[in-house]
């Protein structure tokens, strides 16, 4: 790498949770690689990607943890959740059950993450798969989702299509923004093997994320 010296950057750790099949891996890959595949293998344990973006005047590194959806893997969460700056909850707007389990994911995360101030911990809710069947198979209304967000301390809400790349960038920009308010400044060594995803991106984004 060109810069061996240690630089102080903002590292934001983001955990993505939600039921199996709601599109967590697809969302992350659409955001990081601008790609969509119909067929990702099921995520086992947790996968890990990074992306650098500019938020206001600051360069931040998002460290995004993609988790397994099945309940069996919950108990292994603690190791992954520790030190998180933001938690993204994902559900499928076409499947009621994936919305009903949001309370579990929310509470289980706070229980295991061991955060300083659970009340104030930043979450973002994403309702994915708005493209399916032209919106005709929707089971959860936007109003219902927004009500849930309001009842959980005004969680920002985004409806996305990972398949079409709709609103994905906006949702994750909001994640970065509110995670930064909760930031952990850490020393990161930038050395060793570089990955294609680590190019800094200049982004034109709306300046606020509350919706």
């Amino acid at each position: 790498m060109h810069n061996i010296s240690q630089r102080k950057r903002t590292l934001l750790k983001v955990i993505v949770l939600g039921d199996s099949g709601v599109g967590k891996t697809s969302l992350i890959n659409q955001y990081v690689d601008k790609k969509f595949s119909q067929q990702y293998k099921a995520t086992i344990g947790a996968d890990f990607v990074t992306k650098e973006i500019q938020v206001d005047d600051k360069l931040v590194t998002l460290q995004i943890w993609d988790t397994a959806g099945q309940e069996r893997f919950h108990s292994l969460g603690a190791a992954f959740y520790r030190g998180a700056d933001c938690c993204v909850l994902v559900y499928d707007i076409n499947i009621q059950k994936t919305f009903d389990t949001l309370n579990n994911w929310h509470d289980e995360f706070l229980k295991q993450a061991d955060t300083n101030d659970p009340e104030a911990f930043p979450f973002v809710l994403i309702g994915n798969k708005v493209d399916v069947d032209g919106g005709n198979s929707r089971r959860v209304t936007e109003k219902k989702a927004r009500n849930w967000c309001a009842s959980r301390g005004n969680i920002p809400y985004y409806e996305t299509s990972a398949k079409e790349g709709y609103n994905v960038e906006e949702a994750f920009f909001c994640v970065a923004k509110i995670a930064q308010e909760n930031e952990h400044v850490q020393d990161i060594f930038f050395g060793g093997i570089s990955e294609s995803v680590s190019e800094a991106e200049q982004q034109q984004q709306p300046s606020r994320c509350a919706c």
């Binding site: 199996s20 099949g21 595949s37 119909q38 067929q39 990702y40 293998k41 099921a42 086992i44 344990g45 947790a46 996968d47 890990f48 990607v49 990074t50 460290q63 397994a68 959806g69 099945q70 309940e71 069996r72 893997f73 919950h74 108990s75 292994l76 190791a79 992954f80 990161i188 060594f189 930038f190 050395g191 060793g192 093997i193 570089s194 990955e195």
Partner: protein, 281 residues
């Protein structure tokens, strides 16, 4: 009144909103359906209630079977052939879940079943290939008997669960390459759970291409020490083979490297793994 009529009346009186279509699907004739045993029963012993509880697990199996080796025509896609193979995988996983209520279905079992079924289905003797589903089932049961505990949440913190298996890998690495162990776990703070969880629970099936998986599995399944011990040695060898890159890497680069393991010479990997046995004897 005949028994069938009694059953029908009891049925109707306890369930106001009965749905004809629902119980007509039942295989039992009406006279054989006892009062406690009908599709809307909520009783704990009701096979019907159990059936509906199973629906969730069957949906999960279906979702995962469809995304097993999405890059291979054998498993994936809309062809008749792929569909019949998916159907076979589904059957095996559902039966396993039913017969093992303490384990049920855990995501990733599809990946372990896939190589077994593939090998049986591709038997050059058509007569053998015809029984691929049954053969794969029994081998799957046999293989999981040694790895089952990794899938059971209740055992996560026990001496036989996945955490302790991962700890054994960590100890094996420390024994054979303390410098690498120290750099990984102490300096760059890569918790082995972040990569080894998948390596171990899936028997490396998501880390390599399919031909390489079969190559590694030949060793796992034939080693007299058994698949679990052999697997840990192979995992340890995987770490040691890329030690130079790992020693130069930080948390992020190391974790990325370990989560998408580079293409490697499998024969050499197995050779290195085998050497760890000789040393530890």
């Amino acid at each position: 009144m005949n028994p069938s009529e009694i059953t029908r009346r009891m049925y109707n009186s306890t369930n106001c909103d009965t749905d004809d279509a629902k119980y007509e699907r039942a295989l039992l004739s009406r006279s054989e359906i006892t009062h406690g045993e009908h599709p809307l029963s909520l009783g704990k012993t009701s096979v019907w209630n159990l059936f509906f509880q199973d629906t969730e697990i069957i949906e999960q199996i279906d979702r995962d079977v469809k995304r097993t080796h999405p890059d291979m025509h054998f498993f994936s896609g809309d062809s008749q052939f792929a569909r019949s193979n998916q159907e076979a995988l589904k059957n095996v996983l559902i039966i396993f879940a039913k017969l093992n209520p303490g384990v049920r279905y855990v995501q990733g079992m599809n990946e372990i079943l896939a190589p077994l079924y593939y090998v049986f289905k591709n038997d050059p003797d058509e007569e053998n290939a015809a029984f691929a589903e049954a053969d794969a089932f029994f081998c799957f049961v046999e293989l999981l008997s040694g790895f089952r505990d990794n899938f059971v949440q209740q055992l996560d913190n026990s001496v036989v669960g996945i955490r302790s298996t991962i700890t054994r890998l960590s100890q094996l690495l420390r024994e054979h390459d303390e410098e690498l162990w120290r750099h990984l776990e102490v300096t760059s703070k890569v918790n082995p759970q972040f990569y080894a969880f998948r390596w171990i629970t899936l028997l490396l099936t998501q880390e390599f291409n399919f031909a390489d998986i079969l190559h590694i599995w030949d060793t796992l399944l034939s080693d007299p020490d058994g698949p679990q011990e052999t697997l840990l040695r192979v995992c340890c060898a995987m770490l040691v083979l890329i030690r130079k890159r790992l020693l130069a890497g930080d948390f992020t680069s190391n974790l990325k490297l370990l989560q998408s393991y580079p293409t490697t010479n499998i024969s050499h990997l197995l050779y290195v793994a085998n050497k760890f046995r000789v040393q530890s004897v």
